[in-house]
């Protein structure tokens, strides 16, 4: 089976959901015209990233009675979508979230589990932590979504793998940093190491898209990329510029790679569970030894 995946790397207007929504709808039309089956947007694509006290004013609900999600759900009749937004739950907690929309339905919402609150990041101050990592079925197979810092921890992607994900969709608003003599920033290189490693270790497809533009002094470096189950980079979007990058995925590559390299077949999940239980049974050490 083949599918055409489109990666949107966009700039956003900070705190102006309507303006960002219009950009989403325009790109959805473009991607649809170019034959995309699935279009993915970066983290917080509907709001912008450094929201601080804007968080409560930009939150929405991934339902068809929501004025932001209604047009997106209508647009998802044409092609599947993954968008980034601020979700407010029924008890008024705010999450960094991504929603997967298909044929007018919300198939899944992932709430960012790991909120970086160190260095230049201050997410834990403004957002609630997500508390679940689950794969879900789509018309292209089983998918797992993670948001930026989530994939800097090894466990969420591992859980998604065991939960059946063959296609990993990652979204970021990654501030560019780490200028050296090398032709790319440290932050771009670090992310691409991880994407390639996951594709290789999980013998799966890994797709990532990332913001561009500036918010005050922060730059976002774009360079959306897709890796195949052999760990090969299939495509990379341009750095720092808005772009819509399309790539065809041959999902049968999962079969060929796993016939050669049965890492999933040989994964010792009972051993993992047993050892995890042993390591974490010492209650004084909740994060391991």
């Amino acid at each position: 089976m083949k599918m055409t995946l489109a990666l949107a790397q966009i700039n956003t207007t900070l705190g102006n959901v309507q303006k960002n929504l219009q950009k989403h709808l325009a790109l959805i039309q473009q991607a649809s015209d170019r034959g995309a089956d699935l279009l993915i947007f970066p983290e917080l694509s509907l709001t912008g990233y450094v929201l601080q006290d804007l968080v409560p004013t930009v939150a929405c609900h991934p339902r068809d009675d929501d004025p932001v999600f209604r047009p997106l759900l209508e647009a998802s009749q044409k092609l599947d979508l993954m968008v980034g937004f601020v979700e407010e739950d029924e008890r008024n907690r705010f999450y960094i979230a991504s929603a997967y929309l298909s044929r007018g339905q919300v198939l899944h919402v992932h709430r960012k589990v790991y909120l970086p609150t160190y260095g230049l990041f201050d997410e834990g101050r403004f957002f609630a932590w997500g508390d679940s990592v689950q794969a879900f079925d789509t018309r292209f197979g089983r998918v797992g979504m993670l948001i930026c810092e989530d994939f800097w921890h090894a466990s969420p992607s591992y859980l998604l793998w065991l939960d059946g994900a063959d296609l990993f969709l990652f979204q970021s608003a990654s501030p560019g940093r780490g200028l050296s003599e090398k032709p790319d920033l440290d932050s771009a290189r670090w992310v691409n190491h991880i994407l390639r490693a996951y594709a290789s270790l999980y013998t799966s497809f890994v797709a990532h898209t990332n913001r561009v533009g500036f918010e005050d002094g922060l730059n976002f470096w774009g360079s959306a990329a897709v890796y195949d189950p052999n760990g090969n980079q299939l495509i990379e979007g341009p750095a720092f510029e808005e772009a819509l990058t399309l790539v065809q995925l041959d999902l049968n590559q999962l079969h060929r790679t796993r016939a050669r390299l049965p890492l999933l077949r040989d994964e010792r999940t009972a051993l993992v569970s047993r050892e995890m239980g042993r390591i974490l049974s010492d209650r004084s050490r909740s994060s391991g030894r």
Binding site: D53, L54, L179, S180, E181, K182, F214, D216, N219, F240
Partner: protein, 276 residues
Amino acid sequence: MNASPDLTINTELAQRILTGFIRSEITRTGLTRAVINLSGGIDSALAIYLAAEALGPQNVLAIRLPYRTSSADSLEHAQMVIDDLGVQSMTVDITPMVDPLINNFADMDAMRKGNIMARMRMIVLYDQTAAFKGLAVGTGNKTEILLGYSTLYGDSACALNPIGDLYKTQVRQLSRAVGVPAAIIDKPPSADLWSGQTDEGELGYTYAEVDKLLYLLIDERYTPEECIEAGFADGFVRSVVERIRRNQFKRVLPPIAKLTNRTIGYDFLYLRDWGT
């Protein structure tokens, strides 16, 4: 440990990010133009090369702001940049604005005079931003910001600063790459507030030396002890660390005394780019 860290940067990448930054942070305010106090030194030269590339030279105004003791070289070097880039330019002699204030105080020392000159330049610069409908682009580098080697509300005043995360060593490297004339890159850096003044003479060490130390302390998070262990002189390390701490006030907005439940700076938090 490495007492000689490599501060080399990829200049193409730096240029791309910094011109993008200037373009984005000016145009999102609804403006399209920049105004720069072009001193004839390397920092403002680099800033204006980046601004001219980002906005087009016709959208950049270079202002030369000499005082009667300013060196002739400074004016000439600034003119070289103006001619090379084709930016708009103007020259305003600050002497008749500065001297009446200085002459009021017989005992005024060189530092007070220098601060008055720097702040007078700021007044002219900001007035021209209104006339030219542009934003003031800053010219302070990471070394001088960390060491506090600037006048508060004077040369440090700006609307945005493209070069404030580059050490002086890196300013030199990027200046070479963007085509700043060699005469400007090679001369000893000077605030040019009085004749014969040089930055390195006043600071007591060279930029090449202190940049390596700052890089380890700030970027690599070495402790002062680790810097000494890596080969830097004890007294040098201690004096730089103290100088960084003492000048923190120049790097932050003045603290507001908190009284209410929501106070600007503490729990009223928005980026400047809010809504754009």
